[in-house]
């Protein structure tokens, strides 16, 4: 629980952060809330030689809406998401999911950008941004770019983010009906399985569905078979159960003390049903 020695640099702007990173090279890491990186450093599973603190870079925090597009700064903490009036009013799925992360101390420090960049296979917010079809906004030496959330997460701790890039914001259209349901790990409060569902419903019929799961496999991913089964169906207990059943057709599934492969498949099905039902009732 004693990290190796490291140098500490504080960036005053996004450009400075990128410049510092280019200068320090691949042994350097960005740090914001530190609630993914610092535990790894304490166990010496990660031993960066330089930490570039982006936690005080101005302009990267807060939630705003412009023409129906919601934007969340990368440094917004989970605690801020949890209590944000705009999110609670128009995208409560984000506030709910953030409120389920860890405990209060973790939520006070951890940031949405950090959570997405770290991409823990059991983190909550990756499933939410995938379901919301969010854009991940990235800054780098070659200028800003945006990538769709479902393309951003690629594998185990593997994301579409270059060495010298950092996340600046996440944006998504105001969702119609969306909800997140999660089976909490009793110790870490990470998701054993977490499912986010975003639906478009017209006169009781589902006309569009994006459903994403976290915790079940290497990274947050869409449950396409569930989405297809839902789309065009009239939303009721039977159709939700039927669509959820398709959730079992995951590829490789994680297995550990908290849940075997069989249990995780079953829980993916159960929480898919819960997330869809909760979204439908919004």
């Amino acid at each position: 629980m004693i990290p190796s020695a490291f140098e500490y640099r504080r960036a005053g702007s996004v450009d400075e952060a990128i410049a510092l990173k280019r200068e320090a090279g691949s042994a350097a890491r960005f740090i914001a809330g530190g609630h993914s990186l610092i535990p790894l450093m304490k166990l010496r599973l990660s031993e960066p030689s330089v930490l570039i603190d982006i936690g005080r870079v101005p302009g990267l925090s807060g939630v705003s809406e412009d023409g129906g597009r919601i934007s969340i700064g990368a440094l917004t903490t989970h605690a801020d998401l949890e209590s944000d009036p705009l999110l609670l009013a128009v995208a409560p799925i984000v506030a709910e999911a953030a409120g389920e992360i860890g405990d209060q101390q973790v939520r006070n420090r951890g940031t949405i950008g950090g959570s997405l960049a770290h991409a823990d296979p059991a983190a909550d917010l990756p499933a939410v941004v995938v379901a919301l079809d969010a854009a991940i906004h990235i800054a780098g030496a070659d200028g800003p770019r945006a990538v769709a959330a479902s393309d951003f997460f690629r594998g185990l701790f593997e994301v579409d983010l270059g060495e010298d890039e950092l996340i600046t914001a996440v944006s998504f259209d105001r969702p119609s009906r969306a909800a997140y349901a999660k089976l909490r790990h009793p110790a870490s409060h990470f998701a054993i399985v977490g499912v986010a569902a975003a639906l478009t419903v017209e006169e009781g019929v589902c006309t569009g569905a994006r459903v994403a799961v976290t915790g079940a496999s290497t990274h947050a991913r869409r449950l396409s078979a569930v989405e297809e089964a839902l789309t065009g169906s009239r939303l009721d207990d039977d159709s939700i159960a039927q669509a959820s059943a398709a959730a079992s057709e995951l590829g490789d599934v994680n297995a550990d003390l908290a849940g075997s492969e069989e249990y995780r498949r079953a829980m993916t099905r159960a929480f898919t049903g819960r997330a869809i039902a909760a979204a439908a009732s919004r």
């Binding site: 020695a5 089976l183 009793p186 110790a187 870490s188 003390l257 249990y263 829980m267 159960a270």
Partner: protein, 791 residues
């Protein structure tokens, strides 16, 4: 002496803990808060494999680092200090502070670094290269008993630490020979019903909020060693440190400053403590070692890990005829101070609160490649009561009898006390039916059952569980632990200004002695609590002591304090008598005055008598000046608190998640000095019991022997949101064995809660043919039972 709340008295009142303001404001003084001039820091290199032979250790890189003062391997340390002490009568293998040749569990220390800075010490410990030839590891005790695939200590065939220790009916207690099985056989032959079940009380990590820590300062000028330690028992620590270092007890002082919890895990003196002391002596400089949380998970003693094959014989009317337990205790890789003794306490509990004619408990203790076990809150009693209370509930289910009624039919009756169990335990006092009835009434048992049945009819998996515990408390007498003795010591000094300074040999680490003991003395002397200081945790200031464990502080320490106070009172009466021209026997204490009984206000002020005692002109005949007395006290027998816990749970049919919805408890710990502190003890104990039942399990990988649950990310201690509001109450059955009439309450919550919750979970799943579920009640395990698969 009555200990119930009486007007004008503090004993029996919910007095807030005097310790808390300093602790919650960060003004406490813990071992890690202390910095001594010239102090060096230790870090240990530990084995990352569970079993193997050390081929070589390369310390050159560590030694070359600037600021590294010394690096020692286990082999080098073995030349400086002998193997660690054991306080149990069973044979034990050598257990070195740092292993010289072979590693037997993950985390076992193999080398130590001494450096000028803690971070540097950690880097240097990391730089030591240890070449270990791996051997197969064994973590399942029943597999270990075959001697395959590994024998952990060559001298202990088939890994049997204690091959077989039988106890109970038909066993000669002196020789441990089984002499007559006829009563046992007869009971099982006569039985209408026999319950047989394999039950595990799983391995747990104690997880005190403050990890272990030590500062050792050897002063070469006067050959004295001072050790600041996170110990629960500084006097035992002094005895063991002096013995291992070859010093006299007069040369060693052990100080326990503020200590952040122990739960039994800080009874032991650990290898790191001996190494710190030995290195300080070698270098002539103070050294500090602070355990980190990863080390705490891996290398502070674990608790429980006892397996029971239970057989219970009963009549069709529910009269229990006999109980048989075959126990297999997985004690890990070595024996520590009390390791081998803890499972024997399970055998002491075999009768519970029931009048059972025949009992038999056979105990085998087994080495495995895991951290050694030792005392963890409850220590043997939670295991024993859990096994028995599960069996009782299985019997109730089999007989389709209300579990409360079945227990009622078997209770030891009030007129049977003092009651000697078939296993030879002597219970001091008890009135079990009153506690049961109070719990049933408070819970609304009949309504709970009706509500459960209604919920079941809706398809909800609601279950009710009831348990009734007793426990062995208030350790001694000394015969129970001949290696150190089990008395307690106290001193009380009234200073010349009338302020009181008292010392106690028990050593609080969260128990609130500074409050409860001051309450007692405030009443005895009839002075304000603020005029009283309670000193504990320092062998330099406290002349004698044993320590805080086994729910003994109030029982044994409290009584010693009362006796010391009573001696000072006698002396104050002798000083006051000539001032008042009365006889000492006519005087008593009230309202800060000493005067004629009933009219104390006409006497002299307490402080004036104190002043006179230090300047006694003239000195009363046959009286020494001053007011300072001490007392040693040893109880003649154990105290036996008891209580009834009722749980309501609901299991989510889709996920197997279990919600503890209600928890109703009635505890009887005899008289109560401070109900607020007693409630705190019960709350904490229940929370730990909920942890064992629902969320906690130390899991080692079957193949590699790695501790899988080695952090709070994997090992879940319950959080506030996991717990319902506890609905608690008391009955009061004083103990006749001490003048306070107290019984002890530190561990009760951990004992009755696990069977109550598991009984409720089994009840909830009874529709699926479930008769027993092993802890912890993992959601997946419950989900599989609901799916009709195996748990």
């Amino acid at each position: 002496m009555t200990m119930q709340a009486t007007p004008g008295r503090l004993v029996g009142q919910r007095v807030r803990r005097r310790e808390d303001p300093r602790l919650v404001k960060g003004r406490g003084n813990y071992v890690d808060d202390m910095k001594l001039p010239g102090m060096l820091h230790l870090a240990f290199t530990r084995s990352d494999v569970a079993h193997g032979i050390i081929r070589s250790i390369d310390t050159s890189a560590a030694q070359a680092m600037p600021g590294v003062e010394l690096v020692l391997t286990g082999a080098q340390l073995a030349e400086m200090i002998p193997p660690m002490p054991v306080a149990t009568p069973f044979p034990a293998p050598d257990h070195h502070s740092v292993t010289p040749d072979r590693v037997r569990y993950v985390g076992e220390p193999v080398a130590v670094v001494v450096a000028t800075d803690r971070y540097l010490a950690a880097d240097a410990a990391d730089a030591i290269v240890v070449d270990i030839e791996e051997l197969p590891a064994v973590v399942d005790p029943e597999r270990a008993m075959s001697g395959d695939p590994a024998v952990i200590h060559d001298a202990f065939e088939n890994n049997l630490a204690v091959p077989l220790a039988p106890a109970g009916t038909g066993v000669n207690p002196a020789t441990l020979e089984v002499e007559d099985e006829s009563a046992l056989n007869e009971a099982f032959e006569q039985a209408d019903v026999v319950i047989s079940q394999r039950i595990l009380s799983q391995r747990l990590v104690p997880n005190a909020m403050e990890p272990r820590g030590v500062i050792a300062r050897f002063e070469p000028g006067n050959d004295e060693l001072t050790v600041w330690s996170t110990t629960q028992n500084p006097h035992i620590a002094r005895t063991l440190l002096a013995a291992i270092l070859g010093m006299g007890q007069h040369q060693v002082r052990v100080i326990a400053p503020d200590v952040g919890g122990g739960f039994g895990s800080k009874i032991n003196v650990y290898g790191e403590d001996f190494v710190a002391a030995a290195i300080s002596r070698r270098l002539g400089l103070p050294v500090k070692w602070i355990e980190d949380r990863s080390e705490a998970f891996m290398t502070t003693i674990h608790g429980r890990d006892v397996l029971c094959y239970l057989d219970l014989a009963a009549t069709g009317e529910g009269k229990i005829l006999a109980v048989k337990m075959r126990l297999i205790a997985d004690i890990g890789a070595y024996e520590m101070v009390l390791t081998a003794a803890i499972p024997t306490l399970v055998a002491f509990m075999i009768s519970g609160v029931y009048d059972i004619g025949v009992v038999r408990c056979d105990l085998t203790e087994v080495f495995t490649n895991k951290m050694p076990t030792d005392a963890y809150r409850g220590a043997g009693r939670p295991e024993g009561i859990y096994f028995l209370e599960r069996g009782i509930d299985m019997l109730a289910a089999r007989l389709e009898m209300d579990p409360a009624e079945l227990r009622r039919r078997n209770f030891i009756q009030p007129e049977q006390f003092p009651y000697t169990t078939a296993g030879g335990m002597v219970y001091d006092s008890g009135e079990y039916e009153r506690a049961l009835d109070t719990a049933l009434a408070n819970a609304g048992w009949e309504q709970m059952k009706a509500d459960r049945d209604a919920a079941r009819a809706e398809g909800r998996l609601v279950g009710l569980g009831l348990s009734f515990y007793t426990e062995i408390c208030g350790f001694g007498p000394s015969a129970a632990m001949p290696s150190v003795g089990l008395w307690e010591h106290a001193s009380v000094s009234v200073e010349r200004d009338g302020k009181v300074r008292a010392t106690t040999g028990v050593s609080a680490h969260g128990q609130g002695h500074e409050t409860t003991f001051a309450q007692m003395l405030a009443d005895e002397f009839s002075i304000p609590m603020d005029d009283i200081t309670i000193v504990h945790g320092d062998t330099g200031q406290v002349r004698g002591g044993t320590g805080t464990f086994g729910s003994r502080s109030q029982v044994v320490g409290g009584t010693a304090l009362l006796l010391a106070a009573s001696k000072v009172q006698d002396k104050m009466r002798r000083f006051a008598a000539p001032m008042l021209e009365l006889q000492p026997a006519d005087l008593s204490f009230s309202g800060g005055m000493i005067g004629p009984s009933g009219r104390e206000e006409t006497g002299v002020a307490f402080a004036d008598v104190a002043a006179f005692a230090y300047v006694p002109i003239p000195l009363p005949p046959d009286t020494e000046p001053g007011l300072s007395e001490e007392a040693f006290w040893e109880p003649e027998g154990f105290t036996w608190p008891f209580g009834c816990y009722i749980s309501q749970v609901e299991i989510d049919r889709d996920t197997g998640e279990l919600e503890l919805q209600r928890f109703v408890g009635v505890d009887d710990c005899g008289n109560v000095v401070n109900p607020l502190i007693v409630a705190g003890q019960i709350h904490g104990g229940i929370a730990q019991g909920v942890g064992q039942a629902m969320t906690e399990e130390a899991v080692y990988d079957e193949e590699s022997g790695q501790l899988v649950t080695a952090s709070f990310m994997d090992y879940a201690i319950p959080r506030a949101r996991d717990l319902p509001r506890f609905e608690l109450d008391h009955t009061v059955t004083p103990s006749p064995l001490n003048p306070l009439g107290v019984k002890g309450i530190g561990e009760a919550g951990t004992i009755g809660s696990t069977p109550s919750i598991v009984n409720a979970a089994v009840d909830a799943l009874s529709g699926f043919g479930v008769e027993h579920i092993d802890m912890m009640l993992r959601p997946e395990k419950l989900w599989r039972l609901i799916q009709g698969g195996d748990a």
